[in-house]
C-alpha cells in the first residue's frame, strides 16, 4: 500500500487539496462502480483519483471502465488519451481505501499549539535556506 497527497478539487467535497490518501493495489480486487480508483493516463505522469462510473467486464475478467470526478460535471472521457474511450486494469495504480485530511490537521495543530506553528515556520525557513539555488 502507498499514500498519496491529493491536490485536485475534482473530488470535493469528499477530498480536498492537501489530503493524504491511502491506497491499496491488490490486482485481485475487482473494479466495481462507486469505487475510488487512482489511475494514470498513458503518457501522463500525474495520476488521477476519481470514482468509477461504468464497467463492462467480460467472462475472462477483461474489464473496461469509465471514471468521473465527484465535483466534475462530465465524465473523464475528455481526459483520456485521444481515441481512448475506456480505462483498463493496466491503467490502475491503486484504490483509495482511506484518507487523512492532511492540511486540515496541520492547520488545526498550528492554531492550537503556537509552539508547533513556530516550529513549522522555523523548519520551513531552514528548508528554504538549504534548498536555495
Amino acid at each position: 500500500s502507498t499514500a498519496l497527497l491529493f491536490f485536485s478539487g475534482s473530488m470535493e467535497p469528499a477530498f480536498h487539496r492537501g489530503d493524504l490518501l491511502f491506497l491499496t493495489n491488490r490486482i485481485e480486487d475487482p473494479i466495481r462502480v462507486g469505487e475510488i480508483v487512482v489511475f494514470r493516463i498513458e503518457g501522463r505522469e500525474i495520476p488521477i483519483v476519481h470514482r468509477v462510473l461504468k464497467i463492462h467486464e467480460k467472462q475472462n475478467g477483461d474489464i473496461k471502465f469509465l471514471t468521473k470526478g465527484d465535483n466534475n460535471a462530465v465524465d473523464d472521457r475528455g481526459l483520456y488519451k485521444r481515441g481512448q474511450h475506456w480505462l483498463e486494469k493496466k491503467d490502475v495504480v491503486g484504490r483509495a481505501r482511506g484518507f487523512v485530511p492532511y492540511i486540515g490537521i496541520v492547520t488545526i495543530l498550528m492554531n492550537d499549539y503556537p509552539k508547533f506553528k513556530y516550529a513549522v515556520l522555523f523548519l520551513l525557513g531552514l528548508f528554504v535556506l538549504v534548498h536555495r539555488e
Binding site: 462502480v33 462507486g34 461504468k54 463492462h56 473496461k64 465527484d70
Partner: protein, 142 residues
C-alpha cells in the same frame, strides 16, 4: 427501500441506450452488527449515494452503470423521497444487450466518507429488477 421504474430502449449509433424513470424512497441507516443506527455519526462527513444498474449481456458477463448519484452531507436528513427521476448519466450498453434484457437490477449504494479514516462502500438492502422491452422506441421524447 423501494424503486419504481418505467423504461424503454432507443437505438443510438450502434449501442443500446436505455431510459429509466424511477422513484426512490429510502432511509439510510447504519446496519452494523444487525442493529440499525444513525448513519451520520461523529466521523461521517458525507455519503456519496449512487443508483446503479447491473446486468449481463452476450458481450459482457458483468455490466454496471451508475444512473444517478447524490452527495448527502452530515446534517442533511438521511431520507430520500424522490419521484419521477431521470437518470443523470446516459445508460449506454456496450453493444445491444439492453434489448429484451429481463434482468437489469437497480441497487442503491453509498460510499461513506469519514472525517478521517477508511472509505467503505455499502450496498443498501432492497433492489429492483427492471425488464427492458424487446423493441426499440424511435419517437418517444425524453
Amino acid at each position: 427501500l423501494r424503486k419504481n421504474v418505467e423504461d424503454f430502449t432507443g437505438p443510438r449509433e450502434r449501442s443500446d441506450l436505455g431510459f429509466i424513470t424511477f422513484d426512490i424512497t429510502a432511509d439510510i441507516l447504519n446496519g452494523k452488527n444487525g442493529l440499525q443506527t444513525l448513519i451520520f455519526d461523529w466521523n461521517v462527513k458525507q455519503l456519496f449515494l449512487y443508483l446503479s444498474a447491473e446486468y449481463s449481456t452476450k458481450n459482457n458477463a458483468l455490466n454496471q452503470v451508475v444512473l444517478w448519484d447524490k452527495i448527502m452531507l452530515r446534517g442533511d436528513n438521511p431520507r430520500l423521497f424522490l419521484k419521477d427521476m431521470k437518470s443523470k448519466y446516459f445508460f449506454f450498453d456496450d453493444g445491444n444487450g439492453l434489448k429484451g434484457n429481463r434482468n437489469v437490477t437497480l441497487t442503491l449504494s453509498w460510499n461513506v466518507v469519514p472525517n478521517a479514516g477508511i472509505l467503505p462502500l455499502v450496498t443498501g438492502s432492497g433492489h429492483v429488477s427492471v425488464p427492458f422491452p424487446d423493441t426499440y422506441e424511435t419517437t418517444k421524447s425524453y
